[in-house]
Symmetry: C2
Subunit: 340 residues, 2 copies
């Protein structure tokens, strides 16, 4: 089966003996085209199975109606849910999305940005890879003059719209919860400080520890890549301390799961001996044994607000320097792993 020649506006125009311009206007319900012509055009368009050529109209209009999305990975419930809700809002406004994943790699992230810009997206909504420190690729998006919106993994220095939860406050909430359960030596397996959200979680943890006059022991604060595997490694390190913690707050559910595996393997009672708290409310936190206390990040709102912010920016005639920083309140989901 050879490639069928696709139907163009010109084909419809020839069929009806009118100009392609009239056909274009009829398809868009221009008020200067008669109802009779509109009907005829739409009838013939259907007959010939006309599909508009997006490339041509995007090129002419200078607008692709595509929004690029970059996430560290799609196989996390949080990102998948953000995308789903974002897409729903954008679809209603006539935009389609292109999803790309960086796999937490800086190089891949740069490549994704290039691909999206090359595809002429009208804007980019992104969450940064763990590895990303150099921001020049993001500056490139800004210099193109198209909206850039960051969520969850953002960067203050970039000066763009941002949607995320209050990580500093979330850490406070967790530490207070653990104190209320009688914990006295609270450890934190955090992410790398260079990533803003992890830095905020670490700051929140440290400040809360001080606020409630708990021992501030440097051995209790570890920086991690937050993979399941590294969660195991860091938990093992904590257990080897002369004076191990009675509670561990892990900055990601995956690493918390690794920590839980180690605790289970070593027959350490959770929560009786050590309380465990994760972050992100990944589905598995509710079905492992014991179920893991964690923080819900409101992925629905984050996705929706990100989409709405994009729409707002794209509709503005002149780029306003005022930015939105949407900091949502998170929610602590208390489960067995800290409920003693």
């Amino acid at each position: 089966m050879a490639n069928k020649k696709r139907t163009t506006l010109k084909d419809i125009a020839n069929e009806l003996n009118i100009s392609p311009a009239a056909v274009s206007k009829a398809m868009h319900n221009d008020s200067r085209i008669s109802d009779k012509t509109k009907e005829a055009v739409k009838r013939v368009a259907k007959e010939l199975d006309y599909q508009p050529n997006h490339l041509a109209s995007a090129l002419r209009k200078g607008k692709s109606n595509l929004v690029g999305v970059i996430v560290p990975r799609t196989n996390s419930h949080f990102f998948s849910s953000v995308i789903e809700n974002m897409e729903s809002v954008l679809n209603k406004a006539g935009y389609n999305i292109i999803i790309t994943q960086s796999n937490e790699s800086f190089k891949k992230e740069c490549k994704n940005i290039d691909t999206l810009l090359y595809t002429q997206v009208d804007g980019i909504i992104a969450s940064m890879a763990n590895e990303t420190v150099d921001l020049s690729h993001y500056e490139k998006i800004k210099s193109k003059g198209i909206p850039l919106i960051l969520f969850d993994r953002g960067e203050n220095d970039l000066n763009v719209d941002y949607i995320g939860i209050d990580d500093y406050e979330s850490s406070h909430m967790i530490v207070e919860h653990l104190i209320s359960k009688g914990c006295k030596r609270i450890a934190h397996i955090g992410g790398f400080r260079r990533t803003r959200i992890y830095n905020n979680r670490i700051r929140g943890y440290v400040d809360a520890i001080h606020k409630y006059n708990l021992p501030h022991d440097n051995h209790l604060l570890l920086e991690s890549s937050l993979t399941l595997e590294d969660g195991r490694v860091k938990m093992q390190a904590l257990l080897k301390l002369d004076n191990p913690p009675d509670a561990v707050y892990v900055a990601s559910d995956y690493a918390a799961l690794g920590a839980l595996q180690v605790l289970n393997e070593q027959n350490i009672k959770v929560p009786e001996t050590i309380c465990l708290v994760g972050f992100g409310n990944e589905p598995f936190t509710s079905f492992v044994r014991p179920s893991i206390t964690t923080v819900k990040q409101h992925s629905k709102q984050i996705g929706e607000i990100a989409a709405e912010t994009f729409i707002k920016r794209i509709s503005e005639d002149n780029w306003k320097p005022k930015l939105d920083k949407n900091i949502l309140k998170s929610e602590l989901i208390i489960r067995s792993s800290s409920n003693k």
Copy 2:
């Protein structure tokens, strides 16, 4: 910051007092352009931060170098891994991918196909939604004359290239494994028969049961949406039977997890009282207690072969009626839930 005017070939041409055609050729290293001009063009292109306009070149060349991907959902390890490996192969061949998810909805899947065709992708690689029965949207892709490749969730009727595992044989393998563990009443929580892979798994299960002269009890074979929640419901139904099974083979890991939850809640020993087997090797199967025996689907190969098949099809001058049906052998991962 107003939208900066983007640099075009014409800008470079004006700068060097040559024609845009010469610039275009220089950028593509045409042999009929002198090295001196090529160097000058590339220098100026860099100076002016030239980025080719994909829309224009794609429109002119009638080729977008984009491949559309449709998956039921991205937040499953299987699909995410298939995409990752597919992308890696396609990137090397100069293609970029656009990921869309149907969320198992037929309507959303149709919309995704429209979006991808509208974006002028050069081909589509898809795995069908559970809901999909009507195939007219897929026929639409075929009628455009662009390659369509299905993986995992395919359809014989469509007559397109397909990559997946041998589901029929996998069921045999599972039943044989359970028999070797001494199981005598093996139940199957399967997917809907209308989906080919689930139909094959059911057929494999039924044939294996007959082959080994096990009791063929209609109550032991259930059709399910295979969500975690429905896995719970179906497991509860099986436990209410007068003569409950001593092994349950579930056609998806998520539903198997729901089944496991019910078994744990009712203090039924797994594997001692009832053996459990899932399908798909989702990461959580290894870290729940007990860990779940499951089937590995070789997502890496599926992704790579799908990409290579696309490249093969797109490079063919004339569309050949001969199709590739790649049926890979699956692998049984034996874990605690069936290892008595």
